[in-house]
Symmetry: C2
Subunit: 448 residues, 2 copies
């Protein structure tokens, strides 16, 4: 980011910090980040956001201007503000790497640090991991629904602000998108950038075909013509004319885009017009309010689209714009703790998630256990990615993360990947963890 | 922002710019920003985002690193890249000021500039104005539904990234919220910052009452105790004990917060427990997944809450996480233009919006007219806020904008403000504008 985001937190993180500081509660706390329930039609999540979390933790510090601002609120004691100036993140982080699948109740990240540090970072961590995992999950659904057709990110204008625009481009690429229209994201994350033309380009010319000719003159080998401004089939015929003019010059029209109307029949008719003119290799791109439900229907109908631009509904995760991701205290000092609020019961203690595969490598089910549980033949998913405030090993490249995701996703059974009414993936709790929760809850009920 | 966001745009804005540049199309273009349809249960919008748009336009420029990045894509011609280095925004902006109400089809902003400049800025403008107006509208609904009870923003952890976190805090304050938990937003926009405590603060202590005592020791005059971690009514009784201890020391408990369970009956019972102990002035705050539908139901039931913390569903505009805001070319050179794609017909030409009030100052209806239409006794809403790339007058303070909003909102008839199934506000098109559209559409159909 460049800017210091340490103050991008909830005020109560700072007031609680002062109370901890003044009562000298400096024990190590473990917090666990997990999702309590699946949004509708969701049955898995794709881990994303860890890179930003680790950068943030590495850079955490209060500037003088931050301290001055806090002092001006007349809420905080001078000795506490002096202490804040020295705060850095010195703890450890265990996390399920980006690109891996995770499921309900599974900690995607666990932090152990002095309680003030571990508490202070809650807001930013949820803010980033919730968004990025939500979008990576939505994008994975789009890629799956497109059944091999290419999908690219057109969402920037409707993402919630600039940071979301960047994170959506990255998270969707991680989940299998082939590129983004977002130029800054392309620059920042080294993503393929893609684009066609807008309706305004057409309507700024008196004649549609003049607009086509002007554009292909500038991009003789990279043009995708937008053909729905006035009448899609008439537009397709003009594209044919221009494509033939290009061929005569040794150039090549890449494709056409349809952005409105009844897309499925239009694509079929446009394919017919192109094929009849011998332009079998001119591609058709569809766009305009598409999501995974549309793409799934299109795939089932054998749509004539070669690729899709997916925008608003992916970039806002429109059918599920948030999920119930929580960051809960599970251990303080050496004491395991739980929350027992209605509908918000939590699991105590440091954890590990174990993934079991069948002989073909298909995902069979997960076990959420205690950190030191041992399950032969199951893969422990949480890795120690930060120790004493330092990143333990370089993170994999985004390209490698994308490959990792695509490989694992292909091993998730089909009914769990379903776009509508997916089956639930089996997640169990280890016997030791179940015994621990029962014991801690008994203890709490006894003491209250 | 600090960072240069010029590349935060769609690639096609740059490819179209090159086509315009190479074909020497440098005429002035006017684009109009408006919403095509209301999301569910919406019948008005609150203008927000103009300040960021004007800052962005003032600072628009391509850095050397931007140009180097674009050159590396092998899409752009050298003379075009040289031209890009000189690009600044030199146009004019007309806008409905922040805090004013606007309605479907009404241009909230119109830009006239050389077409390359006017086109390039589309993505950022929609990105910011769509989000901020959407959130201001959602927040206005929450404030209205709370019927005089105070509402504050707790959404940061679930907003879509850091930029959205900041913009949501600002937009919700603009629309009548009384503060935010977001400390960085408080610093940046001079907003009241608010906070209580988290469940983890309670569960890190062995006994709930010890947590209460520890917190009020640090904040003897600013404490709101969270009472639902284990059992809300038992928590309320412990809060009474602590409040009496505080009173004996000359301190004062501000309030208690309930964050889970069946809020309405719990609040009533907690009010009873507090009142019975003589603590009539200890306030009750409600939170936990609340939105305007809940607040409206609570108001109707005469809820015992004094204030609400509203988070996720406001900060993501969860029931309508996007709206159909478009930025359309309406004039190029001296020619008015339209788009005729199915469901996306647009209105040509530079416009003005006229607001008509009755004798008591209530909003009667609006007329969308041509920029030079004249309607006696109606207020023209679009103001010229930028000319030749310069802001024409200092923008009002956020506090003044908030006042402006609250005053106008109070003059919107009740059925249009309804939380569920609101009535539609009357918006007409002026006779001259209707005639122009008919003429331009005939012209397009003739030429195609």
């Amino acid at each position: 980011m460049g800017e210091n985001l340490t103050l991008l937190t909830d005020l109560y993180q700072l007031t609680m910090a002062q109370a901890y500081f003044q009562s000298r509660r400096a024990g190590a706390a473990t917090f666990s980040l997990f999702v309590r329930t699946y949004p509708q039609n969701r049955s898995y999540f794709v881990s994303a956001g860890l890179q930003d979390v680790l950068t943030y933790l590495s850079e955490l510090h209060f500037d003088d201007t931050d301290i001055d601002y806090l002092r001006s609120k007349r809420l905080f004691a001078d000795d506490f503000l002096e202490f804040l100036q020295t705060v850095r993140f010195t703890g450890e982080v265990w996390a399920i790497p980006e690109g891996r699948l995770f499921f309900r109740d599974e900690p995607v990240l666990e932090i152990t640090a002095p309680i003030i540090e571990a508490q202070l970072v809650e807001t930013f961590i949820i803010n980033q991991v919730q968004l990025q995992s939500l979008i990576a999950t939505k994008a994975a659904r789009c890629v799956h629904a497109a059944q091999g057709r290419s999908v690219v990110d057109f969402s920037l204008r409707r993402t919630h602000g600039s940071d979301a625009g960047l994170k959506v481009a990255r998270a969707s690429y991680l989940a299998g998108f082939n590129g983004t229209s977002n130029v800054l994201a392309g620059q920042r994350y080294d993503l393929p950038i893609v684009g066609t033309m807008a309706h305004s380009f057409i309507s700024s010319h008196e004649q549609e075909i003049d607009a086509f000719r002007s554009y292909v003159k500038s991009f003789p080998h990279n043009s995708i013509l937008l053909i729905d401004t006035y009448d899609t089939l008439a537009g397709a015929r003009k594209a044919v004319t221009v494509a033939k003019e290009m061929a005569a010059r040794g150039e090549k029209l890449l494709g056409v885009r349809i952005d409105s109307g009844d897309l499925l029949p239009l694509a079929r008719e446009v394919r017919g017009i192109l094929d009849e003119a011998g332009l079998m290799d001119v591609k058709i791109t569809g766009s305009g309010g598409l999501d995974e439900y549309d793409l799934s229907d299109f795939s089932r109908a054998g749509a004539a689209f070669d690729s899709y631009g997916v925008g608003t509904k992916m970039g806002t995760s429109a059918d599920a714009p948030w999920c119930d991701m929580a960051y809960k205290l599970v251990e303080y000092g050496n004491r395991s703790v739980v929350k027992m609020s209605p509908g918000k019961r939590s699991w105590p203690g440091k954890k590990q998630v174990f993934r079991c595969l069948d002989k073909e490598g298909k995902l069979l089910g997960d076990v959420i256990g205690m950190r030191d549980d041992v399950f032969a033949d199951a893969e422990p998913l949480l890795k120690n990615v930060m120790a004493r405030g330092e990143i333990t090993a370089p993170l994999p490249s985004l390209g490698a993360t994308r490959e990792l995701f695509l490989q694992e996703f292909a091993c998730l059974p089909q009914p769990i990947r379903a776009i509508r009414k997916p089956e639930t993936y089996p997640v169990e709790f280890s016997p030791r963890l179940q015994a621990l929760r029962a014991e801690v809850e008994r203890d709490v009920l006894g003491k209250r």
